[in-house]
Amino acid sequence: MTSLPSKTERSLGLVIDLDICVGCHACVVNCKAWNTGGYGTPLADSDPWGPNPSGAWLNRVHAFEVGEGKDAAVVHFPKSCLHCEDAPCVTVCPTGASFKRSEDGIVLVDESKCMGCGLCAWACPYGAREMDPSAGVMKKCTLCVDRIYNENIPEEDREPACVRTCPANARHFGDFADPESEVSRLSRERDGTDLMPEQETRPTNKYLPPIGRNGAAVMEAGGCGAPEEGQVELQGILAWVDRTLERI
């Protein structure tokens, strides 16, 4: 049924730390690799080695430039399904293929019911759903439902592929319904934000904003380029060399 559950027992999701993400795309690639052999039909590409490669991916990393001049920063921005509490993609589905699980809040597509109308992708403001170019069914992040409960793989692997692979530890997986979980604590302490709150989707996933850089003093001294000669006070043996050379 494509009605949303009024409440979910658990609220599984991700915290993505924009302060840490280095934009390496490892999560993107591992997501693609796992979901090509995991839940549902393979995550297909069209024309992968040809002149116009395209394909379905469930996680993509954008890079944004924020702010002006000295204060400008580059922010790498991974984007995947936010497993919204009020998921508009679920309620629009006419076939019953899309659903939100009441036990853990994961939004999934039953690919055997999907007729490929694409309305759910239109309803999602985040672009989290992509049509599979060969199977003609809608694909989306499953929060690696086939990993997190999978007792056939080592326990340390029972988390989403993107989280498992992140070399910088910018991605965290857990239960937001538990206030003591790591994701709840991180989100609370670091002002975890919702994307497009005005769309009233109530996303589960939270993004931790970049922490302000502590280079303010350097900037006041004249930008973040190399310091001018004489600005830096030398110490130790360098100071002795400097004084000696001065005397010669």
Partner: protein
């Protein structure tokens, strides 16, 4: 949004068919057999062609029957149930008229209400999508209903053998309705120009607004993808102003002029056929713009 031909034909043709069904349902008393067959037949045929067109938009059309299951939450599902039910009732009403059954008016009224509900459901498929700010307005259902009713009234003027449809008053009403529909379309366009992506911005989309203005530095992929093909459609948006004018001239100006000449020379049905075709051509162009000009929130990430 990508203006798929299947969807444009679906909304235009099934809208016109259901619009004709609406008028046939409420105003077909006294119709002779020819009028009954042509009136109800055209409504059912046009709507059915529209519905078949919509199936071409599906990647897995053999599963289309499943779309009838989620009427409790999905407007697309409701549309899929209401439209065929309305057409079936029109068919039953036509049979009742043919057999001169006393139930015909009641069946007609029910069919008309179902036609109206089906048009409303079609419009709500789009009006419910908050991610497309241009669509997400109460104006959208009014727009679809007004266009369906106007197209239906133009078609009805061409149906012989139905006393109400043959009257001069009905033709005048059709013209008035069409003017109202295009005024609504004009205000809908004015709103679209103003609204953009609504309250969503690159700053809210990334949650980085506190740090300043957000610009894309590097897209996540070098080629195109499904999201850009489907939601980031930009081709020929620059011709929008010209297309609006062409739609207005054909669907409002010429269509009305032709029907008015028909009224003046006393040959409404013959003129109404061509007036209805012009009206539908104008509506088709307006529907193309309905999709092509609407901006989806996901474009804020690109």
């Amino acid at each position: 949004m990508h203006p798929a031909l299947s969807i444009i034909l679906f909304t235009t043709l099934s809208g016109a068919g259901l619009g004709l069904g609406l008028w046939f349902g409420v105003a077909s008393y006294g119709a002779n057999n020819a009028g009954t067959v042509i009136g109800a037949g055209t409504a059912i045929l046009l709507s059915s062609i529209g519905l078949v067109c919509s199936v071409f938009h599906l990647r897995r059309p053999l599963r289309a029957w499943r779309a009838l299951s989620q009427w409790r939450s999905s407007w697309l599902s409701r549309e899929g149930i209401l439209a065929p039910t309305a057409l079936f009732l029109l068919f039953v009403q036509a049979g009742a008229l043919w057999l001169e059954s006393p139930f015909a008016p009641w069946l007609g009224l029910t069919a008309a209400l179902l036609c109206l509900a089906a048009i409303l459901a079609t419009s709500m498929i789009y009006a419910q999508i908050r991610a497309v700010a241009a669509w997400c307005t109460p104006l959208t259902p009014f727009l679809f209903i007004a266009f369906a009713a106007a197209a239906g009234a133009f078609l009805a003027c061409a149906v012989p053998g139905v006393p109400v449809f043959g009257s001069k008053g009905f033709a005048v009403a059709a013209i008035a309705l069409n003017i109202a529909a295009w005024i609504l379309q004009y205000s809908w366009w004015r709103r679209l120009d103003r609204v953009g992506t609504g309250t969503s911005t690159p700053e809210t989309a990334t949650g980085l607004g506190q740090m300043g203005q957000v610009r894309l530095l590097e897209p996540p992929h070098t080629g195109t993808n499904y999201l850009l093909d489907e939601m980031g459609y930009v081709v020929a948006r620059r011709h929008a102003a010209k297309l609006r004018l062409i739609a207005l001239i054909l669907g409002c100006g010429f269509a009305i002029l032709l029907l008015a000449v028909g009224i003046a020379v006393g040959h409404v049905p013959a003129f109404a056929i061509f007036a209805a075709l012009l009206q539908l051509a104008g509506t088709g162009i307006a529907r193309w713009l309905f999709f092509a000009q609407a901006r989806h929130a996901v474009t804020l990430y690109y």
